[in-house]
Structure formats: structure tokens, C-alpha cells
């Protein structure tokens, strides 16, 4: 019985048993998908999102992966095109067998992609969509790690009014951007009225299209109406064009907008012009997990080709980092196996974990989700001027006293 041959047989059998047991518990990799715009007009965001996710993948695997399995983040480019985002989700869920998807970035893409997520029964969570009701219309698989712009505006507009003694505003928005158009035509007009601010171009909305470089006519018209301030609803890269034209025409007025304005690039467009906008994260935030995140990510972003040398981590980098971190936590704590035969069950476990998520440690504070699938988290009303953003008001997207606040 104790012959060397028998010893080897026992050892071999034990090894086979161990592999078989491990195989039944956990696959070798757990795949999570991401949809980001690495090309097209918002390529900067997509590329920095990609660097962020690669950093997170390394962090997770270095710390032992997901219950012993390696994390694999599969990133697809949607070029900010809704149809491409939807087909990316199909590929990730159908071919790559991911347990959940981070993205897509824009509301336009989310509106088209979230129904596909419901059809394929896989969680899809946007890192930037903030148009009201986009996740709510696509429950139970759609989530957003963002706050509805109508909630943010309730804190932003009163601060703007009080600080700059605003009695009248002109509104200009990007008509081709779903979030910008909703903020410019619905949210901000209603919010201005609620705060007793008159809109000088209420009957004659001023808009431009994504990609327009000439907005001289719109700015000349705003200037002729002589408002106390300007509501500028556009993604920051488009807003830069309006701010440059305002400066060129000597039309220096305080500007208010939505989360889309938050960037370091916008502060260079017209540094003397005050800009007020809400955010859930900004690169110069202090305290908590934000500073270490920026310290680790920023050098990696600045080394990446195709990104500006002075780039800083954006709110959307923070959001997508939190999203995949939440998926990893869900996978660890709810017993996701990553095995093909458990795929449907794994996806359901991730979704159920998110629904009940309680005080996940986000970069800007704790995170939970409301019944609409939107994040409950802290936010800040920021004022940008002379090259820096500073916090002026702190708020929360839920009622005071909620643990996430």
C-alpha cells in the first residue's frame, strides 16, 4: 500500500479532485463588459475611461481577483453612436458572456441600449447619462451611476441666483445632444421660473448643433437681450465654442449649466467668466478615496497617447471606476461563479445585489440606488473661475438622513 506507485496515484487523484472541485466553484476568469466612446467627438472621455478600467483590472487582479478568478474587462468603442452602443451590448452579452456591462456613456446611447440590456437580461449602467427618466423607463436591468439633472438643478440654480443676483437669463443649448436639449428646454426653464428668474428668450429658444464652430449669431442675439446671466446647456467640448464667442464679443456674464460642463478644458475657454455647475466628482476634490484615485490615475492618463498632456481624471472616469468596482463587489459577495452554465444566474445575482446595495464606498462618498435605477450619492455645486473649480454647496440626491448622504 505504501509503495511509491501508490503514493503517486493518491497524489494524482487528490490533484484531479482539487481541480474538479475548484472548477465547479469558480471559472478561471470573470468577464465584465464596458462600452465607451474611444473614437468620435467624445473620444477623450472614452480613452480616459479605458485607461481607468485597465488600472482597475490590474488592481483587482493584484488583490486576488474575484474569489480566485481573474477579472477580465472587455472594452468596446461605440463612437457615441446609439446603434453602435446597442450592438456592442449585444456582442458583450451574447458573444463575450460578460456578467454585467458598464456604459454606455451618453443618454442618447443609453436610451437605445438599455432596452437591449433588458432583452438580454444583463445589467447595463451608464457612467454619464443624466437625462431624466432614462433608466426608469428600462427597469429592471438599467442603472445609472449618475444623478438626474432635475435634482441637481434644484441646488445649482438657487446658488447661482443668490451669488450673482440673477434676475434674467438667456438660454442656449445643443439641440443634437439628448441631455443638453432636455436641460435647455425643460429642466432649466422650469427651474428658473421656480426661482423667480425671467427668461429673456423664452419664446425664442437659442440652439446650435454638436460640431458647430460658428455661434456668433446666437451670442450676438443673447448680447442684444442683455440678460444678467446665461444658461449654457451643452457638453463641455461644445460649450467651449460658446464661451469663446462670448469672450470674443465682450459678453461677460455668469454662466450656469449641468454636469456636462464640468471639465478642466472649459476653464481655459474664458477664465474670467464664472461658471456654475453640479458634479459628483472633480479632480481637485480632497478627502476620502478621491485623492488617491486621482494620484494613481492621473500619471497613467498623461502617459497615454491621444490624450492631452494636462488631462485630469473626469467625473466619468470616477463613475465608471465605481461601476466596475460595484460589479466586482457584487460578484465576490453574491457568489458569482463566472461559469458559462451559471451565466444567467450570475447576471441576476449582480442585479439583485445592486438593487439592495447599501453604502458602497464610492470615490465621492457612499452610493446606493433608488427605485428608478439612478444613484443616490453626494453631489457638489461647483464654481469655476480663473482656472479652478471650487465647491460652493454640498448636497445629496436623496432626502437628508439617507445613509448614502
Amino acid at each position: 500500500m505504501n509503495s511509491p506507485r501508490n503514493k503517486w496515484s493518491v497524489l494524482l487523484a487528490a490533484a484531479i479532485l482539487q481541480i474538479a472541485v475548484a472548477g465547479s466553484v469558480q471559472a478561471q476568469t470573470v468577464a465584465i463588459g464596458a462600452i465607451v466612446p474611444s473614437s468620435g467627438p467624445f473620444a477623450e472621455w472614452g480613452r480616459s475611461n479605458t485607461v481607468t478600467l485597465k488600472m482597475l483590472e490590474q488592481e483587482v487582479n493584484k488583490a486576488g481577483g474575484i474569489n480566485g478568478a481573474k477579472l477580465k474587462v472587455i472594452i468596446l468603442d461605440d463612437a457615441t453612436k446609439p446603434a453602435q452602443a446597442a450592438s456592442s451590448l449585444r456582442k458583450l452579452a451574447g458573444d463575450e458572456k460578460v456578467i454585467a456591462v458598464a456604459g454606455p456613456l451618453t443618454s442618447s446611447a443609453a436610451e437605445v441600449t438599455f432596452p437591449v440590456a433588458n432583452e438580454m437580461k444583463v445589467v447595463s449602467m451608464s457612467q454619464a447619462s443624466s437625462k431624466p427618466g432614462v433608466a426608469k423607463a428600462n427597469r429592471p436591468w438599467a442603472f445609472r451611476n449618475t444623478i438626474d439633472e432635475s435634482i441637481l438643478a434644484k441646488s445649482t440654480v438657487p446658488y447661482y441666483k443668490k451669488t450673482f443676483d440673477i434676475k434674467t437669463v438667456a438660454i442656449i443649448f445643443d439641440a443634437k445632444d439628448a441631455t443638453a436639449a432636455t436641460v435647455g428646454t425643460k429642466i432649466m426653464p422650469a427651474m428658473m421660473k421656480d426661482n423667480g428668474i425671467a427668461i429673456v428668450n423664452e419664446t425664442d429658444p437659442l440652439s446650435f448643433n454638436t460640431g458647430d464652430l460658428d455661434v456668433s449669431a446666437q451670442v450676438t442675439k443673447m448680447k442684444s437681450l442683455n440678460p444678467d446671466g446665461v444658461v449654457l446647456s451643452a457638453d463641455y467640448s461644445q460649450a467651449v465654442t460658446v464661451l469663446r464667442e462670448m469672450k470674443r464679443q465682450g459678453f461677460i456674464k455668469p454662466v450656469v449649466g449641468a454636469t456636462q460642463l464640468i471639465s478642466s478644458a472649459i476653464l481655459k475657454a474664458a477664465p474670467e467668466l464664472p461658471i456654475v455647475a453640479p458634479a459628483t466628482f472633480y479632480a481637485s476634490m480632497t478627502g476620502g478615496l478621491a485623492a488617491p484615485f486621482v494620484a494613481e490615475l492621473q500619471p497613467m492618463l498623461r502617459k497615454e497617447s491621444g490624450l492631452p498632456a494636462e488631462i485630469e481624471p473626469s467625473m466619468y472616469d470616477a463613475n465608471i471606476y465605481e461601476i466596475v468596482s460595484m460589479y466586482v463587489e457584487a460578484a465576490k459577495k453574491s457568489g458569482v461563479t463566472g461559469k458559462p452554465e451559471d451565466l444567467e444566474a450570475d447576471r441576476t445575482k449582480v442585479r439583485d445585489y445592486l438593487v439592495k446595495l447599501d453604502n458602497f464606498k464610492g470615490l465621492g462618498g457612499p452610493i446606493s440606488f433608488n427605485d428608478d435605477g439612478d444613484a443616490i450619492k453626494a453631489f457638489y455645486v461647483l464654481q469655476g473661475q480663473n482656472g479652478a473649480w471650487t465647491t460652493k454647496v454640498q448636497g445629496c440626491s436623496s432626502v437628508p438622513g439617507h445613509p448614502a448622504c
Binding site: 473614437s39 468620435g40 467627438p41 467624445f42 473620444a43 477623450e44 439641440a175 425664442d204 429658444p205 437659442l206 440652439s207 446650435f208 448643433n209 460640431g211 458647430d212 464652430l213 460658428d214 456668433s216 449669431a217 446666437q218 450676438t220 442675439k221 442684444s224 467640448s237 467651449v240 465654442t241 469663446r244 464667442e245 469672450k247 470674443r248 464679443q249 465682450g250 478644458a265 481655459k268 475657454a269 497617447s305 491621444g306 490624450l307 492631452p308
Partner: protein
């Protein structure tokens, strides 16, 4: 406000004019739309931007933008047009569309998708003329456009090169019998077209003090409308139609609503195609075949 809007419209129209001429030269000679012109315009803008931020003068920036765009245009002609010259017209057009997308990708990879912004010192001063305020750069844009259109008109109408261009446009085979090299003239047309697009790019980049890789798309489409409205057979047509469309666009935004701006511009183009296909200055309907 009306006078100020007219100034805005003329400035915008000046850029449309240059770009429309750029389209018109290739269209006139070869009968195809070179869809890469919008991106040559963008590349010219980035080159001008680089020169200006290196604190070199505006003429150097314009020259660099023109030279760079002309060189790329020559490459497009050699790779994207010449080998496909005998194919159906749509084939070289699709080839130029491919170049357009490649150039846009190259620009995004080199300079990023965020707008590049010139420092404030390059925004230029403004001159007050009663109720109207004109930027120094607006005057430069209009002035350079007039000079370039005049130079182009002189080359096409008064020089042997221009006569060769017109001969090839009229009938390539007959021109060759008369000793005109069709290939050389085609290359020249592509390079002249690229140079004009590059100049327009530099002007718009310094005027708005910002540029993105996607700036060519919208302006390129408007320039095609300007080319159609002015008539591809007359250089002066673009000089008339450019400001006309620029003014129509800004007045629509100012008095009609920004939402109907593109409806007005492209509606005008469709009306011209339906009722005066030779364009505003295109002469009689029989003038269709004679271009440049």
C-alpha cells in the same frame, strides 16, 4: 443687432466661399465631389494653429496650412483618385470619403477630440463702428478670402495653367491632343483645391480660436451647398453665394429661430437645384458642361 449680424454672416460666408471654391475646382475638372476636402480644411486649421502657437506670423500660418493641405491632397489624388480614374464616378468619390474618415481619425489620435484653444492673446482686438463691432480677425478673414478668390480667378482665367485647367474641364481627350497633360492638370487641380481648403481652415481656426477634428463636417456640407448655389462653372459664383448663405444663416438664427437654420440653407440649395441647376451665376442651362 442687424448690422452686427450682417458682419457675422459675411465673415462666415467668406469661409464658405473658400471651401466652396475648393470643392468647385475638383468638381469642375473631374465632375466628382472630393469628400476629403472638409478634412483638408480641418488639417489646415490644425497646421495653422501649430504655427500660430509657435508665435510665427499669420502669413506663415496661412502658407503652412495651404502647403500641408495641398501636399495631402496630392497624396489623395495619387492614391485615391488616379488609379480609379476610369471607374464609375461614384468609386473615386467613395475613395475620397475613405480618406476623409482616415484624416479625421489621424487628427483625433494626434490632437485629441477636445477643442484646441488658442490663448486669449490671439483673440484679437475689436473695432467699434457705431453700433457695430468688428473683430480684427474678422477683417483679416474677409480680406484674405477676397485676395485668394482674386488670385484664383486670375490663375484660372489669365494664365496658361488656367487655360489648361479649362481645356481639361471641357474635354480631356481633346486637351491631350492639344498637348495638355491631363494627369498633371488633375494633380494641379487637387493641389490648388487642397491649398484653398487649408487656407480656409487656418482662417477659421484663428477666427474662432478653437478647433476640433470634427469641424470640417458641418462646414464642408454648407460649402457644398454654397458651390451648388453659386454655380460650379463660375468662380465669382462662390464669392456671391458664400456671403449670401452666411447672412441667410445668421439672420435665420437671429430672427427666425436656430432650429430652422439648416432648413433654410439646404432648402435654398434644393430650390436652386430644381429651378436653376446651373447656379446663380452659372449662365444658361447649356452652360452645365463648361466648368472652371
Amino acid at each position: 443687432m442687424l448690422l452686427q449680424q450682417l458682419v457675422n454672416g459675411v465673415t462666415l460666408g467668406a469661409v464658405y466661399t473658400l471651401l466652396a471654391l475648393s470643392f468647385s475646382i475638383v468638381m469642375g475638372i473631374l465632375g466628382i465631389l472630393n469628400l476629403a476636402i472638409a478634412e483638408l480644411f480641418m488639417i489646415g486649421g490644425y497646421l495653422g494653429f501649430a504655427v500660430i502657437t509657435a508665435h510665427l506670423s499669420l502669413p506663415v500660418a496661412v502658407a503652412a496650412g495651404m502647403a500641408g493641405a495641398a501636399a495631402i491632397s496630392a497624396v489623395i489624388e495619387k492614391i485615391g483618385y488616379e488609379p480609379l480614374r476610369d471607374a464609375p464616378l461614384v468609386t473615386p468619390m467613395l475613395s475620397t470619403l475613405g480618406f476623409s474618415i482616415i484624416l479625421q481619425n489621424i487628427a483625433t489620435n494626434m490632437w485629441g477630440s477636445d477643442p484646441l484653444q488658442l490663448p486669449d492673446e490671439f483673440l484679437g482686438g475689436r473695432i467699434a463702428l457705431g453700433p457695430v463691432s468688428i473683430g480684427e480677425l474678422q477683417l483679416i478673414v474677409i480680406g484674405v478670402t477676397i485676395v485668394l478668390v482674386a488670385v484664383m480667378a486670375y490663375i484660372v482665367q489669365r494664365t496658361s495653367m488656367g487655360r489648361a485647367l479649362r481645356a481639361v474641364a471641357e474635354n480631356r481627350d481633346v486637351a491631350r491632343l492639344l498637348g495638355v497633360s491631363g494627369s498633371r492638370i488633375t494633380l494641379t487641380a487637387f493641389m490648388m483645391s487642397g491649398a484653398l481648403a487649408g487656407a480656409a481652415g487656418v482662417l477659421i481656426a484663428i477666427h474662432y480660436a478653437a478647433i476640433t477634428p470634427y469641424v470640417g463636417v458641418e462646414i464642408g456640407l454648407k460649402a457644398i451647398a454654397v458651390m451648388v448655389i453659386g454655380g460650379t462653372s463660375r468662380i465669382w459664383g462662390a464669392l456671391l453665394a458664400g456671403p449670401l448663405i452666411g447672412i441667410a444663416e445668421v439672420l435665420t438664427v437671429a430672427y427666425g429661430g436656430s432650429q430652422i437654420r439648416d432648413f433654410v440653407v439646404y432648402g435654398f440649395m434644393i430650390a436652386i437645384l430644381l429651378f436653376r441647376p446651373q447656379g446663380l451665376l452659372g449662365g444658361s442651362g447649356a452652360d452645365q458642361g463648361q466648368r472652371v
